[in-house]
Amino acid sequence: MALINKESVKKKMGSRIAANNFAKFLFILATSFSLLVLGVLLFRILDEGLPYLSLDFITSFASRLPERAGIWAALVGTIWIMTVTAPVSFILGVGTAIYLEEYAKKNAFTKFVQINIANLAGVPSIVFGLLGLTIFVRLAGLGSSVLAGGLTMSLLILPVIVVASQEAIRTVPKEIREASFGMGATKWQTIRRIVFPAALPGILTGTILALSRAVGETAPLLVVGALAYVAFVPENLLSSFTVLPIQLYNWTSRPQEDFHMLAASGIIILMIILLIMNSIAVYIRNKFHKRF
C-alpha cells in the first residue's frame, strides 16, 4: 500500500503549475513597474524641460522672469563645491582605506573604525547638514561659504569612498605584494608603486559614483545655508553659493507652471552631468575589470 496517493499528487500538479505561472507573472509585473516608472519619469521631464532648454538657459543667471532665467550660477556653484569635495573626500577616503587594509592591526580600534564607517553611511544626509552648520559655518567661522559646503559634502560621501576603496585594495592579490617585499621594497614603496596603482581603477570608480551622489544632493547644503536665489558666481572659497539641485528646488517650489518647466530643463542638465559621470565610472570599471 503506497503511502502517497499518486492520483492526488497528479491532480494537484496542475494547480501548482498554475500558481507558479501566476506568481511569475506577478514578479515580472513588479519588475516592469520599476521600468515603467523610469520611463514615465524620463518622458515627463523631457516633455516639460526641452522647450526651455537652450544655450541661453545654461549661460544666464536666475531671474524673476522665467523666459530669462538660467542656471549659470548654480552650475558654477556645483563645480566649485566639487573642487573642494573631490580632493578632500578622495584623500581622506583613500587614506582611511589604506590605513584599514594595509597598516591597521586587527584590534578593537580597527573594528570600531569599521563599524563607525558603516553607521556613518546610514546617517541621513540632512544630519550632515546640521553638523556642517555647527562645525564649519559657526565654529570654524567659514560662514555659508563654498568651503563650508564642500567640506560638509566631503564628510557625507566619505563612507562610500572608504568602502569602495577598501574593496578595491582587497582585490589586489597578496602574491604581488610578496613579490615587491621580496625585492627589498619597503611597505610604503609597495603600497605606492604596486597596491595603489593596481587598486586605482576600483578606487576611481567608487569615487566618481560617490561624487555623482554629491552632485545631486540638496538637503545638507540647504541646511548649511546655500542661497536659493543667486545672481553671481562664487569668486573664492569663502563666497556664498548655490548649486544645481537647490536652484531646481527653488523653481519646483514656486506655484507657476513656467518655473516647473524651468526646473525640468535644469533636471535634464543635472541628469546629463550624472550620466556622464556614471558612464566614466562604468567605463573605468569595465576596462580594468578582473585583471587578476
Binding site: 511569475k24 520599476s34 570600531f112 544626509s125 552648520l133 572608504v162
Partner: protein, 317 residues
C-alpha cells in the same frame, strides 16, 4: 661580456650607495602610516561631531522648552510669539511615519518581487538588462523624485481619488519615496537570495517542486535575515529622506493621520527653518537640532537593528 661585468658591479654599487642616502625614505615609512591613521580618525571625529553637535544644541533647546512638552504635546507650531509656540515632536514624527509606512507598502512588495524574479526566474541576459535600470533608478537625485511627485504623481492621484487630494499630501511623496527605495530593497534582497547555495534549490527541484515553491519554501526562508535587514534599511532611508517630502508633503505638522492632506516630516521641518530667515540663537534655531537628534536616533536604531538582524540570524551554509 666585459661591459656586462662592469655593469654588474655598478648596479650593486649603485644600490649600496643609494642605501646610504635612505634616511629620507625612512622618514616616509614613519610619517605615512601616521597620516593615514589621522584620515581614519577623522571618520570617528565625524561621528563624534554629529553626536556632540546634536546633543549640545538639543540641551540648549530643552533649557527653553520643556522636555515633557516635547514628547507629549501633539502640536508643532513654532512660528509664533514664544509664549504661544507649540513644540510637540509627535506631530512631525507622525508625518514621517505616515510617509514611511506608505513608502514601505510600495517598496516591500515590489522590491521583494523584483528580487525574487531576478534571483530565481530571470535569465542571465534579462538580469544584465534589468540591473542597470535599477542602478539608474537608485542614482536619480531625490530632487528629481520630488519634482516627479509634485508635478506628476499628485495630479494623477487627484484625478483618480474620489473627492480629490490636496496639492501637498502624504500619499504622493510616500509612493515616490517607496519607488526610490525599490532598487535598494531589490538589490540587497537579491544579494541575500543569491547567497543561498544552489544545492538547496536543486534538492527541492529534484523532488518536483515548482520554481515558485522553491522560492517561497526554500530560498526565501534561508535568505530571510538578509531580506528583512533590507526592509529595515529601507525604512531607515525613508525616515531620513528629505527633498521628496519637503517638495510634495507640505509644511503643516499634524498628529492626525489623513494621507490626502498636507503634513510635515522631521526632515522637511529642518529644511523649512534653514530656508527661512530664522536668526541664530532663537528657540526655533535650536529646535532643528532637537528634531535632528530625534531623526538621528530613529535612523541609528534602524541601522543597528539591520546590522543585528543580518549578523545574528546569518545562515551558515
Amino acid at each position: 661580456m666585459t661591459t656586462d661585468k662592469k655593469n654588474q658591479n655598478s648596479i650593486r654599487a649603485m644600490i649600496k650607495e643609494n642605501k646610504s642616502r635612505r634616511s629620507q625614505s625612512a622618514v616616509m615609512e614613519k610619517v605615512v602610516p601616521k597620516f593615514f591613521m589621522i584620515c581614519a580618525v577623522i571618520s570617528i571625529f565625524t561621528t563624534l561631531g554629529i553626536v556632540f553637535t546634536l546633543l549640545t544644541e538639543t540641551f540648549t533647546f530643552f533649557s527653553r522648552v520643556s522636555i515633557v512638552e516635547f514628547f507629549t504635546n501633539t502640536h508643532w507650531f513654532p512660528f509664533t510669539a514664544d509664549d504661544n509656540a507649540d513644540y510637540g515632536i509627535l506631530a512631525l514624527v507622525m508625518g514621517t511615519l505616515t510617509v514611511t509606512a506608505i513608502a514601505m507598502v510600495v517598496a516591500i512588495p515590489v522590491g521583494l518581487a523584483a528580487a525574487i524574479y531576478l534571483s530565481e526566474y530571470a535569465s542571465a541576459k534579462t538580469r544584465k538588462f534589468i540591473k542597470p535600470i535599477l542602478e539608474v533608478l537608485a542614482g536619480i537625485p531625490t530632487i528629481v523624485y520630488g519634482f516627479f511627485a509634485l508635478t506628476f504623481v499628485t495630479p494623477v492621484l487627484d484625478s483618480i481619488i474620489p473627492g480629490g487630494i490636496s496639492i501637498f499630501n502624504a500619499l504622493s511623496p510616500g509612493i515616490v519615496v517607496g519607488i526610490m527605495i525599490i532598487p535598494m530593497i531589490a538589490s540587497l534582497s537579491e544579494d541575500a537570495m543569491n547567497a543561498v547555495p544552489n544545492s538547496m534549490r536543486e534538492g527541492a527541484m529534484a523532488l518536483g517542486a515548482t520554481r515558485f515553491e522553491v522560492a517561497m519554501k526554500v530560498v526565501l526562508p534561508a535568505a530571510l535575515s538578509g531580506v528583512i535587514a533590507s526592509f529595515v534599511l529601507g525604512i531607515s532611508r525613508a525616515i531620513g529622506e528629505t527633498m521628496i517630502v519637503t517638495i510634495a508633503g507640505g509644511s503643516r505638522p499634524t498628529a492626525d493621520i489623513n494621507i490626502t492632506e498636507s503634513i510635515q516630516t522631521m526632515t522637511a521641518y529642518i529644511v523649512q527653518v534653514s530656508q527661512g530667515d530664522t536668526g541664530y540663537g532663537t528657540t526655533i534655531y535650536y529646535s532643528i537640532y532637537a528634531v535632528g537628534m530625534t531623526l538621528f536616533v530613529f535612523t541609528l536604531i534602524m541601522n543597528l537593528l539591520a546590522q543585528f538582524i543580518s549578523r545574528k540570524f546569518r545562515e551558515e551554509y
